[in-house]
Symmetry: C2
Subunit: 409 residues, 2 copies
């Protein structure tokens, strides 16, 4: 099909497994939003033969190629030299671009080094994507196809893909299909359950992809067609039916995070929240405060890790902890009420559990977590048992706490 | 060379950019630790032609192939069917494996669905990697080369790679080179500075890779040879010299995180820590409590987001906040002293700043953060200005707080 391209990601950190490839993903996402599909992503190390092979092969079988990585100033960054040789072009030095780069670095208080000259040397006939020098990256035309070279930093690669690569490709590749995607965000169901619940909603003209993004699941609906309104209507119909089947387990759509949804609910009602957390160790508060403007509804958070902190800061009576344990419905309820009252907040949310790997018992194994939610209506508690590593358990517990608030509030 | 293989990662979520490829990275890391290099990672979508092309090409040019993803029970998981067809093999159903899978799922309280039959159907002549059915995955020999099929979940793929794939490959590929890697973890220097500081340490027989893992940098040293002792000695010599050049900016080695280093220092001295954080919103406490056993030295954390919380919970006088602002050396010092005294801890660590995007001023722009560290020796403060998004600023601030403690403690 017309719009299919390939991405070649370069860097030995990729093939050696030091980092998961993130640039190609950032670029592919931007391209697909405009109807440009990527048929393959090839990661190769910083080796001339492998880079050349991957580049020429990608060029031979696709409508365009995006190369990411290996544009930096250090010696192991080989992309530009190898590409120039493979494409039979000289390297041309652009003093004007260099002075832009140096000025930009100075404005950011980054020291300018002589290695930066390398950033201003690109294959003959290529054009810089950002002539102002804020990021390296360039493109050229070869055999009637566009090849883009982007830096190996996901945020920069994604931005250049959206702002520079896409417009150039849209112009050079006419008759692109309209592609639309809707992402439903789901928490509290297993993949099998989701799959079964939506099974009869599936239809040929809407793609369903299930994507676990621990501890949540995404259901991505995709539709293609010639006309935007029709494609969007088709997607909307399916999305509405999926939402009916999955009910409250769908916490949001698109890019909206669980903490953003919770924040939106609180803000809409002018309510304020305070958190007392033990086993999650600050993660619940951290998630809430990732949202810009969260100070409007997040009053305070206490990480009452020790029992002493629970007694002193939340007023949980010592004998309650002795009798029922810090991981108990009683303690969770008192923590939630204590933080609500002391903070003067509308909601008090508490988490207390055993994140492990030590501290479990037969009765309360690692992963046992109690949650409390106090409001003007009183206090509710619930218990969950999570599996996994310590970070896994913390993450599931913090999500469950926020989801508890979302569903009750 | 003898040990070079390729990885083929399958899944439309990869080529559409919904997720960054993590399975191949997990596998490649395990392989390289045993001297098995990966020359390319190819990601293709869930499309028969693309899967077949990637698989046969990888098989034709490398010593072994690891395929990840597309083994699941749902319809869009095509790897097994396509591989069987490409390799000219029938699919064989193994009822015993299915009953193991079902028992395992039941033991984990996961509902068993009929789709799971698919997991027990593999190409003729293939062997399950985990016959007990806890994970899917199998291998077979084709044209004298081993091909492994692993599930598309990084933790499982990594575990199978280490426990099953490696021993099988080591047996089938003799004369592997000894490869050793050492990772130095650096915080507080820019890549250019690191690169210049270590420039004269570089030598031909030790590979240097610089890897930004925001907000830290990794310097990965790699050496190859015939004999383990010699390779390790060569690496040790270079690592020691790098450490001399970079000094305290090297906070750790290998997998050890900054929070684990801080925890180790506190534990060694039997000291306890309490944290009062504002703009980091719980992230500092969250990082500290990611470490198993952190309750031994982490007493409590307060997320004093509102000024009222700073006054009530830390005893910061209201007139100090009015006179100097909550983002000031004075407030940071009083927060650190307040949390130290009230928690009865050896160290009180504070963070107060402007995470943005709103709340900045000409005098105190977004990204301005003050840190305080109180101990028996008194209180010290420092200021930093960070750039980036709100999450970026929170992350840099939490790291800087922990690093402040590491360097001073």
């Amino acid at each position: 099909m017309a719009g299919r391209g390939e991405i070649v990601a370069i860097g030995s950190e990729l093939t050696s497994g030091l980092v998961a490839e993130g640039n190609a993903a950032a670029v592919a996402r931007k391209l697909l939003e405009a109807g440009l599909e990527v048929s393959a992503i090839t990661c190769v190390g910083d080796e001339p033969a492998a880079i050349e092979d991957a580049l020429t092969r990608a060029l031979s079988r696709s409508a365009f190629v995006v190369v990411t990585g290996g544009l930096g100033p250090t010696d192991d960054d080989l992309t530009t030299q190898v590409a120039a040789a493979a494409l039979g072009r000289e390297l041309i030095f652009d003093p004007e671009f260099l002075s832009h780069v140096e000025n930009f670095f100075r404005s950011q208080d980054i020291r300018v080094s002589r290695d930066m000259r390398k950033l201003a040397r690109i294959p003959e006939g290529a054009y810089f994507l950002d002539p102002e020098g804020q990021t390296c990256g360039y493109y050229l035309e070869q055999d009637g196809k566009l090849i883009f070279f982007l830096p190996g930093v996901p945020a920069e690669a994604g931005r250049l893909a959206a702002e520079k690569v896409l417009p150039l490709l849209m112009e050079s590749l006419p008759d692109l299909a309209v592609v639309r995607r809707r992402t439903l965000r789901i928490f509290g169901l297993e993949e099998f359950d989701i799959s079964e619940l939506v099974e009869t909603v599936r239809r040929r003209d809407v793609g369903f992809s299930f994507l676990p993004v621990f501890p949540a699941h995404l259901l991505i609906l995709m539709a293609k067609g010639a006309e935007a309104n029709e494609v969007e209507a088709r997607l909307a119909e399916v999305a509405a039916e999926v939402r009916r089947r999955l009910g409250e387990s769908v916490y949001g759509e698109g890019e909206e995070s669980l903490e953003a949804v919770v924040g939106r609910l609180l803000r809409e009602r002018g309510q304020r929240l305070a958190v007392a957390e033990s086993c999650t160790g600050g993660l619940t508060s951290h998630m809430l405060t990732e949202v810009a403007g969260s100070s409007d509804y997040f009053e305070r958070g206490l990480v009452t890790y020790s029992n002493r902190a629970k007694v002193e800061l939340l007023g949980v009576p010592e004998d309650i902890i002795e009798r029922f344990g810090a991981v108990s419905s009683e303690c969770a309820a008192l923590m939630a009420q204590g933080i609500r009252e002391r903070a003067g907040a509308d909601y008090g949310l508490s988490v207390t559990g055993i994140a492990g790997p030590a501290g479990g018992s037969a009765e309360k194994p690692v992963g046992t977590v109690w949650f409390g939610l106090a409001s003007a209506q009183g206090v509710a508690t619930r218990q969950k048992r999570f599996r996994g590593t310590r970070p896994d358990i913390k993450l599931q517990a913090a999500w469950t706490a926020l989801d508890f608030l979302r569903r009750q509030a």
